[in-house]
Subunit: 526 residues, 2 copies
């Protein structure tokens, strides 16, 4: 059994903290800089690679990070996780999202069920359902084909599937893998559902209701909203609704739904994109094959995360460098900057995955830790961000570590040549230019035009954003978050911090308020 210890009790962390700091500006200059770019790189799956040349590390620090990985038993802990130990100690649950796409270790059998087989079975059920919808075997009340799929879910049931849909939508349209337009309803704000319903043809829409417990307030409210609209249009709601839920939820085995696909308590919402939560909507919008390719990319990347050697384990190395930046260098936030418009909502998904997992002050034993844990994560696609918040990243008073993503080729292959280069070349030229601008800076006698440099970044370089590459990217960040949770010794798989707001909101709706809460409720005339 692995030994769970606080980061600041590890000898290797003290050693790491004492290491001489790297002046990025210096190490990135001249031949040294060139050789860093060549050697500070780790291969990933699906033709991606993780390059950390522009991070404030050197061979000595990498060695210290490797020691830290070893002392913190990162690979052992990951092995315990994928072999079915109760890693989510707060909720006393296994953590099995990796099993939705691969099996890295032993069979995981829980309550007599082989969990890998269970997840594969759900995927097969979705495949068959989606194929029937696409073939016109499952149709609406008038016997017509469905053209639109609407996911109703919030948080993990929304952000991941939505980000991946946006990432692959244009690619799927172009490659003949597109079957149904997808839309998403998430917010309890009635304008969200009303706005989506205003823009679709409900008679030809299939609604996928996603709630593990079957009790999520926002989702059930939006379901009623949609059922109301279906009824007003003279339609039979049960012919338009599908559920993704757990087998024990009120939504399972319920004749209100055309079909139900299952997940379970061992798939956290923010890690559920590769389960039926992502599977239903993505298989319907695209094809089951596209979803399978996406899972294959994630599976291949998971495999690398099991490697002991940090130089063969990009997620672990990325995690370690992030902890070094947070706990030794003291940077409180990080930006995720994909140079790909298709990844426009991937930062919003990782914002949840990261901040909800590691935004904790208490360790796995319920003791307060005395070091910072999860940072603020934000981001927008480049080059857009360059014309937005990059001013602060370059010349602001704080240093914000950056995580770039870029692809050699565009997704759609449609391009124009202007001033001797294609748009894709301009896009790539911009991301590499930014890396050097941030790292090396530029002197100027006018302080206003001076760039101090020493602003660290990493980059994941890919060939093209395919379903496999998307799967690998998702797995990389999921596993990075997991390793950072291990290092901070927090439980990355619960979210107790969301409870108090729910309890107080119920009180407000029941008019059981006093003091400031009552006055605030009055402001809104609730």
């Amino acid at each position: 059994m692995a030994d769970w210890k606080n980061l600041d009790t590890l000898d290797s962390f003290a050693e790491l903290s004492a290491k001489k700091k790297v002046i990025l500006k210096d190490v990135m200059s001249g031949d040294g800089g060139a050789s860093r770019v060549k050697s500070y790189t780790v291969p990933m799956a699906s033709g991606l690679s993780y390059n950390y040349a522009a991070k404030a590390v050197d061979d000595e620090i990498i060695e210290a990070l490797a020691k830290l990985a070893k002392e913190a038993q990162l690979t052992e802990k990951f092995a315990e996780l994928y072999n079915g130990e109760v890693i989510n100690t707060g909720e006393k649950r296994l953590v099995l999202h990796h099993l939705t796409r691969s099996q890295l270790g032993n069979d995981v059998v829980k309550d007599g069920v082989n969990k890998r087989e269970f997840y594969v079975e759900q995927q097969k059920k979705i495949e068959s359902f989606a194929n029937d919808v696409h073939a016109g075997k499952i149709v609406n009340g008038a016997g017509e084909k469905f053209t639109t799929v609407v996911q109703i879910g919030i948080g993990g049931s929304d952000l991941g599937p939505r980000a991946i849909y946006i990432a692959l939508e244009n690619w799927a349209r172009q490659t003949g893998n597109f079957n149904m337009e997808a839309r998403f309803i998430s917010n309890v704000d009635p304008d969200d559902a009303a706005g989506v319903l205003q823009g679709i043809d409900v008679a030809h829409s299939l609604f996928v209701l996603v709630s593990k417990s079957g009790t999520t307030l926002e989702t059930l409210t939006n379901e009623s909203f949609v059922k109301d609209a279906l009824k007003k249009a003279g339609l039979d709601a049960s012919k338009h609704m599908v559920a993704v839920t757990s087998e024990t939820s009120p939504l399972a085995g319920n004749s209100d739904y055309l079909a139900a696909f299952f997940m379970d308590d061992f798939i956290g919402g923010r890690f559920s994109s590769t389960s039926a939560v992502g599977g239903a909507v993505l298989s319907l919008a695209f094809t089951p094959e596209v979803f399978a390719r996406f899972l294959n990319g994630a599976a291949a990347e998971d495999k690398l995360a099991a490697n002991e050697d940090v130089k063969e384990n990009p997620a672990m190395l990325d995690a370690l460098i992030g902890v070094y930046e947070r706990n030794v260098l003291g940077f409180p936030s990080t930006a995720l900057l994909p140079y790909s418009q298709a990844l426009s909502r991937f930062p919003a998904h990782l914002q949840q995955a990261d901040m909800e997992s590691n935004g904790k002050s208490v360790n796995r034993f319920g003791e307060f830790v005395s070091y910072p844990t999860g940072p603020v994560l934000f981001g927008e696609p480049g080059t857009n961000g360059q014309h937005s918040f990059y001013q602060l990243l370059h010349q602001g008073t704080d240093i914000i570590p950056l995580q770039f993503i870029g692809f050699k080729e565009s997704q759609l292959g449609v391009d124009v040549d202007i001033q001797g280069s294609t748009s894709q070349q301009k896009l790539c030229a911009n991301v590499v230019a930014q890396i050097i601008a941030f790292a090396s800076g530029k002197d100027d006698e006018n302080n206003n035009k001076k760039f101090s440099g020493n602003r660290p970044s990493s980059i994941i370089v890919g060939k093209r954003l395919t379903p496999e590459a998307m799967g690998a990217l998702l797995s990389h960040f999921e596993n990075k978050i997991m390793f950072q949770g291990f290092l901070w010794n927090v439980n990355s798989f619960d979210q107790e911090g969301v409870q108090l707001g729910k309890v107080l909101a119920k009180k407000v709706l029941a008019h059981e308020t006093e003091g400031a809460l009552k006055e605030l409720s009055d402001l809104f005339e609730i």
Copy 2:
């Protein structure tokens, strides 16, 4: 003339820093908390109000902030700005975006032109053009009406207009103010333009090219991309393109465009939503009247920003509290959390407006400052965020000040009653519950379920998100940013930090690279 001094040289700042800190948990409890909610509020325009009851301030600190406002001469500086002084000292320019919607002071005449008249003239030209398009007087080559308007622009030419379009789209559809679907092309990533073009009917699309200088690389590249697509469809591009630019740009007086609408050097990109940059696309998508109503909201809010009394000047008070949080309490980031799905991209716009304006290390005289300036700003709409990053906001190791926005009524008025309350009531109940959860926390014998509280927030409360309310919101935050720039003594109106990346990207495209930059370029096979 106002006296421009660094924040840390002001006596009132030293006084403020020495004030006893407020324990939010304590002051928000009981009758004291209730009376704070009632009294710590400032009326805004268009039926909005700014409530700061849950900020870590009290009467003494507010008094100290008022002194700071006075010593920093905030209203005098604003008056200099709207009366046409060269406030953008780096670029030696006036700062006139307020004049696009109101005139707060003297006539501003520059190079013989009355600038208020100039901006109004542009608005009238747009009004007449949009009316002609809507009436079918300006049509495509086949004599058919345009159905779609596509804005081609990046940064300030994209984020603000896009956020406002999204904010008012459903409202406009419902109220009969909707004329044309709007789309946006911004990124130099060719997949952005290709994706948008894949989804529209180019033959019935009008493209609005927005570039003040007429030289923005991304925008010109995307223009070529679009012209290529028009040509391939056998269409005459000059019958589909409109320019928004400065009178001296190559795009002005050019027969390649159906019409040109002008802005000038005194309208910064990130403050240009109320100029022709927002005016053209919003007047075409909705109606010129909707755009005028939006400007009226901004004008009314601007007027409040000229008030000397901080308790009658919500933008100034908000700015002062933000500086107190950044420079006295030491919080490095802030989250903007609108409880309105329609405002889903407003945080992205303010991320630019705020971080590009005040992410500076150098004061107005080119000297490095020794205090933190602009914070990281991020955000997503609630309740979605509650199911995403709120875990970290509640229980993370860092405190992140929050800025909520909420409305009593939904925009569309379509709602359902579930479990005794409407969706809108649930939405409002959630935002007030969050304010108290963050401020007051909750004790628990299980540390994992403990909420430390003392996490400050403010809220802007409105009746309904109308064009006027949207204008008031935009003005509030623009003026807040301006006042914070005055306090930090930085030039909020230039953006030298974006230059270095551009220079290096050009080098990469010209293959004039060496060292790390060359190796990185090789990674992308540029």
